[in-house]
């Protein structure tokens, strides 16, 4: 299939190709809606049928990725990765789900759930990816990675029966993304029963959120632009992990693609290349675009970077990065290395994006600025901890993969 973007210039696309217009065009030319759907379907690469890992690397790529650990700069990043993984191992997996409370005047319950999801996402994802990149004969993280993944699958499965809404989506879909990534990279080390357990959680919660995504009033174009990206991209990653394994995954993937192509990639960032609420949301939006679109082009043959050539603007990074960060910095501060950046949005929030920009756009300046962050590869701890449950906001930005591109 030839993407529409290769036929018509991007600037004309929104005008020429609303769904109604395409439908009308097809009716006039005698084609059916069914043929439109089959033309538009983005499918699993045949070589990946039944294969894992697939999202960010394949089994064949692992030896080369592991070999990078021996090089100087990737080796330093790997040290940060391992140090964070060792901290993760010392944490205890969650055993109880935090239910949604209706009486929540100061949003403490909301943030117990949100930070809880972000915390578990970070640890599940970091342990799984670090385990996958460890030496297969000597992997001290595999057991912890498996334990955390299964615990999260059991606890967060309750979300399937917890009516989805916008205040839950940005938390729940992120922990589901982590489960999907862990499922993908640990697949060969999980028993069939364990795989089925994780799939069941993803299937049940994913189905609930697929329904949520159909509601234009709550998850359509008018929805918060950053949260729109942070919700739709994880949905896409979950779908890509399960494509070819559960029938629902194809429809989930189409929803995630449609949201990106219909409005997120054209309107979630401003024409000048930032987010209308904050430059920090610009970084977050780019992170989530990368998580989804990189996996999309690996698992299918669809490359949204080619279709939307302006979807990775880096000018905010060029002007707002004002300083570096040491590897062992414990507590970050507003404006410390990023102008107008909150304490959790400093250069360590941007550097995984910079690595990707360098590779994708072949730009040495992004690689140069990346090296200002000596903590690259670390899981980010923050000063945002809820007062009673002590849920800590953590960030993991697929840092495990960044050394592979250096």
């Amino acid at each position: 299939m030839i993407p529409i973007s290769q036929i018509f210039p991007a600037t004309y696309r929104p005008l020429l190709f609303t769904k109604a217009q395409v439908t009308l065009l097809l009716m006039m030319t005698g084609m059916s809606i069914g043929s439109l759907e089959s033309m538009g379907e983005t499918t699993l690469r045949p070589s990946l049928q039944g294969q894992h890992p697939r999202l960010y690397f394949t089994t064949n790529e692992l030896p080369e990725l592991r070999a990078k650990r021996e090089k100087i700069i990737p080796g330093q990043i790997w040290q940060n990765v391992v140090t964070s993984a060792q901290w993760c191992v010392l944490q205890s997996p969650r055993t109880e789900w935090t239910a949604t409370l209706t009486d929540d005047p100061q949003y403490e319950n909301l943030y117990n759930r949100f930070y809880g999801a972000m915390h578990d996402m970070a640890i599940v994802e970091h342990l799984a990816l670090t385990s996958a990149l460890s030496h297969p004969e000597d992997d001290p993280l595999l057991e912890a990675a498996r334990k955390w993944t299964l615990a999260a699958a059991r606890v967060w499965r309750h979300e399937a029966d917890n009516h989805p809404d916008a205040s839950k989506a940005y938390a729940v879909l992120r922990i589901m993304k982590a489960l999907a990534i862990s499922y993908d990279v640990l697949y060969q080390h999980l028993s069939e029963a364990e795989r089925a357990e994780i799939r069941t959680t993803l299937q049940q919660v994913g189905s609930a959120y697929h329904t949520f995504f159909q509601e234009i009033s709550t998850a359509g174009e008018g929805y918060n632009k950053y949260h729109g990206s942070a919700d739709a991209a994880p949905m896409g990653v979950i779908a890509l992990a399960l494509l070819g394994e559960i029938p629902e995954a194809q429809a989930w993937l189409e929803v995630a693609i449609e949201k990106h192509t219909d409005y997120l990639l054209t309107h979630a960032l401003t024409p000048s290349g930032t987010n209308e609420q904050s430059s920090n949301f610009c970084a977050s939006t780019l992170q989530y675009r990368i998580f989804f679109i990189e996996a999309l082009r690996r698992v299918t043959e669809r490359d949204l970077w080619t279709e939307f050539s302006h979807a990775l603007p880096g000018q905010m990074a060029l002007v707002a990065i004002a300083g570096g960060q040491l590897a062992n910095l414990q507590f970050n501060e507003d404006n410390r290395s990023i102008l107008f950046g909150p304490s959790y949005g400093q250069i360590n929030y941007w550097s995984p994006v910079l690595v990707y920009l360098a590779r994708q756009q072949q730009r040495p300046i992004y690689q140069y600025l990346t090296l200002w962050d000596q903590s690259l590869g670390s899981l980010q701890r923050t000063r945002y901890i809820t007062p009673h449950h002590r849920e800590e906001l953590l960030f993991v930005l697929a840092s495990t993969l960044t050394f592979g591109t250096m």
């Binding site: 949301f281 501060e333 040495p364 690689q367 140069y368």
Partner: protein
Amino acid sequence: MKIEPRVEAELPRSFQFPEPEVDEAYMRASYQPGDIAVGMKKGGLVVHAGGRPVLVDQLDVEDINHPTASVQEMLLADDGQQALIRSVGPKTAGLAEQWIQLNRPHRLTIRRNVDRPLTWWYTGTAVRTENQLCWPDGTKLQVVEGTIVSIQPSGRTDAKAHYGGMQYADPHPFTYPTITVKPADGQLKVIVTTPNSE
């Protein structure tokens, strides 16, 4: 393919994000760590010099839950040697016209028409000598029009809280010195320099 880390030739060193909701402009002296980098958002400034924030306005322009209005005018010009941001406002802070001029490589001049004393915060251990602050690496901030009224060593405490009122269990609240400067005849002029200035 491996990408060599380097500063590309002809890189932009200033940029404006002009959408009214955003209303930001940035200038940097170079891509060397420690050199001056400055951002203006809706009339509020953040200035980095010597690898630290040396002037951060307290105008709440970063509050995404209660966004402030854009300034009346903002213009960015850059000829390579000299870059300039001109803006008008915000009136609510008593600010009228502002000229922020970066003379590369080491000097930033901030001119503000303002009808009241301004307070901002900074980081690091700066030593005050009359109307000047000096950091250990030689970075200086000099008030050349206006007077330093006071410096509060712990004038600003940053303990993380939710906008709805919930106080987080911040494991490491930070305190910062604040400086209050009174304009002279409605004019404030501040010069920031990094070491190796002429």
